[in-house]
């Protein structure tokens, strides 16, 4: 099986298939469909590696990131996404938001 991530970040590979998502829409909806245990696991694994990941990605051309680097960047975006349930809300959804949902219709790439 081909790895999603650069081999230096093989320890994060178990999270890659689920969380290397290119759009905010996918990341937000995966968050809403995940348990707190799943998100805590991603958070605990990715937070201590994030500084190294940014240092790794910084050395590559920002406009032409290879696929595995792009996956790593998307994993960092997912880490940011789950940080709110983990650090702040203690539940997947923003509390008291009822049926409110914000649809992201445009975002920069990468």
């Amino acid at each position: 099986m081909t790895a999603y991530l650069p081999e230096e970040f093989a320890d994060l590979e178990p999270f890659a298939a689920k969380w290397c998502l290119p759009t905010e829409h996918e990341r937000h909806h995966t968050r809403l469909a995940s348990t707190m245990e799943e998100m805590q696991a991603l958070y605990d694994a990715a937070m201590p590696r994030a500084e190294q990941a940014m240092a790794y990605l910084e050395k590559l051309p920002y406009d032409a990131l290879p696929d595995d680097a792009l996956n790593l960047l998307h994993l960092l975006y997912s880490m940011i996404q789950v940080s709110f349930p983990v650090e702040v809300w203690h539940q997947p959804k923003v509390p008291d938001t009822g049926s409110a949902a914000f649809d992201c219709f445009i975002e920069p790439t990468p």
Binding site: A100, F102, F105
Partner: protein, 419 residues
């Protein structure tokens, strides 16, 4: 003692005596009949922001905009000479909607050399001129020059495209915007093209969501849980005070003071904020945007947080001290529903760290906006019970008072003139 000096009258509200200080009614937000009056008096007469010039990069680039509150669908297009033009989105032949794909109720964007009607193939130039009639000889003495697309008044300020659906607008766009808003000219809106855009349908009157973002009195309470306890407890005890409010015609502004998050101790900052060096106020490492125009931070607050410019009727430009900006737009679809669009704009990132900081700021913005929207349906449904009909506003809520007053004034003035 106030933390910031207030005007000599003792309060911001009394500084603008026409506002009064008494309780207010929100009848203007729960009455279907008032909404019809608002449509005629405001949305068919005021300049309305519909997009930015970056959405029209080339000749023939266009988008459509449905404006329910003015009962209109408008095509906005870049003509050959670079001019941005607007037309009613209707074919002059039998009234078919001219530009749409698949579902005529949805707005579209695209690029073309001319507009061709799906129904009988009539064709219009980017300047709106009727260029081609299928089987023209079957018609009766048609003067094509009289059957171009119906134009809509359209003008551009600082790259923001505005339309006006009046037959003849009472003011030019520039006069309408006035000196407080036009003093933002020179801010590098044109360079800040990295955009995160969100939209949602809100089950509340458009003015109630404008009110939610027009005061920060709610911030230490509604948003308390978004910060570590040490920070939120201190914030709630301190309460909120803005150093500066300003009204200019129908438009209004609040400036806030800033927080140097990067100088706070670790217990006051979320771990992911510290890691990404970003958060609610934006990236901690501020990009160099060059000298700021005089309209930005008009009271010279230091540290300065943000300026929220609320352009009548339904558009907000919020400039953060940390070198990014947000826009809010509120499009009424009925007296108790509207579509909200919020966008965050940054300089295009040049490296991964800048981009990660932008992602953090954008995600944080959405979390806060979701919290801000969650009270609206609850407020709308209870106001509609009509058991209670007058409500208090404090000095930090002066901009809410002003919005509802200006809406009432526009309706009165329009109906008075028509009598």
């Amino acid at each position: 003692m106030p933390r910031f000096p207030k005007p000599p009258e003792g309060s911001w509200t009394r500084h603008y005596p026409e506002l009064g200080t008494g309780p207010v009614s929100y009848d203007d937000s729960i009455d279907p009949e008032f909404y019809e009056r608002e449509k005629r008096a405001i949305f068919k007469r005021a300049w309305l922001h519909v997009g930015r010039v970056e959405q029209l990069p080339r000749t023939g680039s266009h988008f459509t905009k449905t404006i329910h509150a003015a009962n209109a669908s408008v095509i906005v297009v870049r003509d050959k000479d670079g001019t941005v033009r607007a037309f009613h989105n209707i074919c002059r032949h039998r009234g078919n909607k001219l530009v749409w794909n698949e579902d005529p109720t949805l707005d579209v964007e695209g690029s073309c050399r001319q507009f061709t009607c799906k129904y009988h193939g009539w064709r219009y130039g980017l300047d709106g001129k009727l260029n081609f009639i299928q089987q023209e000889g079957e018609f009766f003495d048609v003067d094509k020059s009289k059957y171009g697309l119906a134009p809509v008044h359209c003008d551009v300020w600082a790259g923001f495209i505005f339309v006006n659906l009046a037959d003849e607008p009472a003011q030019s766009l520039r006069d309408f915007l006035g000196p407080m808003v036009t003093a933002l000219e020179g801010y590098p809106f044109d360079k800040m093209t990295s955009r995160f855009g969100y939209s949602t349908e809100i089950k509340a009157n458009w003015k109630l969501y404008m009110d939610a973002f027009a005061e920060f009195y709610h911030a230490p309470i509604l948003h308390a849980k978004q910060s570590p306890e040490k920070f939120s407890v201190a914030a709630a005890q301190a309460g909120f005070e803005a150093p500066h409010y300003q009204l200019d015609g129908p438009h209004r502004l609040v400036s806030t003071s800033g927080i140097r998050f990067w100088e706070l101790d670790a217990e006051s900052v979320k771990p992911v904020d510290a890691l990404t060096r970003s958060g609610l106020f934006g990236p901690w490492d501020k990009p160099d945007l060059g000298p700021m125009p005089p309209g930005v931070n008009p009271a010279n607050c230091d540290p300065w947080g943000l300026d929220s410019f609320q352009l009548f009727p339904n558009f907000v430009i919020l400039i953060w001290s940390q070198g990014w900006y947000i826009t809010y737009q509120y499009w009424p679809t009925s007296y108790n529903t509207h579509v909200f669009e919020g966008s965050a704009y940054f300089l295009p990132a040049t490296n991964v760290r800048e981009r990660v900081a932008q992602e953090m700021a954008a995600v944080t913005f959405k979390e806060f906006a979701l919290q801000d929207s969650n009270t609206l349906e609850a407020t709308q449904t209870m106001l509609e019970t009509r058991y209670v009909d007058h409500f208090l506003l404090n000095d930090q809520e002066i901009l809410c008072r002003h919005l509802h007053k200006v809406v009432g004034d526009w309706v009165e003035e329009y109906e008075g003139a028509a009598r």
